[in-house]
Symmetry: C2
Subunit: 209 residues, 2 copies
């Protein structure tokens, strides 16, 4: 098996300057070691206001954010993370529970006025709504991770958690369904002690017909 190495030649096919390609993708790492510097609500809102424009099916935009700042809230969240992630939640400048909202359809009359009647027809279809919400919110998580980096922030996404317990702890009233948790802040040094892992090459990951 051939794997691209980290020194693979860069290309001139991008409209993005090299330094921004590095910032958003090439040099960005999953960070677990942060400085003490705070992340403000204004910064998070700016990131959201950038990435909210990313496309979703029927403009459902079902991603929701639970911003966990308070000491008590951090401890409630940490209790439902897998063991290796608990201390990370307690120590990160801010943690965000990224969730999908199966109640997205209530916003469709405003978000997708060209799909008249969609909100009503989806109302009884709870399972279909949950699936649509999850699929499209995951696309938005991809946009959001890029957006955090575009704001100069480091992101540490973590899937190791008891999602059902987090939903019961925080989302009993609004029905949001947690997807993953991302720690956000400024990287301390490289922000991680793991070496950069390789990726599959284009020829390994694609076929042409």
């Amino acid at each position: 098996m051939t794997i691209d190495d980290l020194t693979a030649p860069r290309t001139d096919h991008l409209a993005l300057p090299e330094d921004l390609a590095d910032l958003l993708f090439r040099e960005a790492r999953t960070v677990s070691q942060f400085t003490d510097e705070d992340v403000t609500d204004e910064q998070l809102a700016a990131v959201y206001d950038l990435v909210k424009w990313g496309p979703t099916a029927i403009n459902t935009v079902p991603l929701r954010l639970l911003v966990v700042r308070g000491r008590d809230a951090r401890e409630r969240l940490a209790a439902h993370m897998s063991e290796g992630n608990r201390q990370r939640v307690l120590e990160a400048p801010v943690s965000i529970v990224l969730a999908a909202d199966p109640g997205f359809h209530r916003h469709l009359p405003v978000l997708a006025p060209h799909m008249a009647g969609m909100a009503e027809s989806l109302e009884p279809a709870a399972e279909q709504r949950a699936q649509m919400a999850r699929t499209n919110a995951l696309l938005q998580v991809g946009y959001l991770i890029v957006g955090l980096r575009a704001a100069g922030l480091a992101a540490g996404p973590m899937g190791g958690m008891d999602a059902a317990a987090i939903d019961a702890e925080f989302f009993a009233d609004n029905g949001w369904q947690s997807l993953l948790v991302v720690n956000v802040g400024y990287a301390e040094g490289a922000g991680t002690s793991y070496p950069r892992a390789p990726r599959l090459s284009y020829s390994q990951a694609s076929l042409t017909v």
Copy 2:
């Protein structure tokens, strides 16, 4: 309900210049009207080589791309798209079936050498692998859409299709599971005749605890 409008004030919290924030998110649209200009394999490989660095759980990177170019292949794909998307597949410079590979675990000894034994323990867990593949490939679809725009390309993602039929048509041998189809090219004018739809504001989409 209050919805952000398109003239909401821009912020100074981004490390990204305004023109690139526009290119990647703010001005980018879901495009269905393309020029005749070709999209080369080199361009698609450059996009992949940028976004392959985006994070996935355990570095599973399960997204796979079926690049549909040939006339016959286009017709086979179009037959399984919903009616409104058929002509789009036939006319786009190139269409890509974005798929998740439940067989991602076979690459883990190289991709995640720190998780020794993971490949073996996942081998019998087909359903868990399919779920992991889908979740993480959807994050990667988010990165890919941003990456196509970063290469100056326009993307037209489409979920309206018979995914099971596409899998039977193209993926009977490799077991990939299709997520959505994206048309790729250069936008003809605005690339769409739909007006820009609104989004939820940060205060609508988030809570702080």
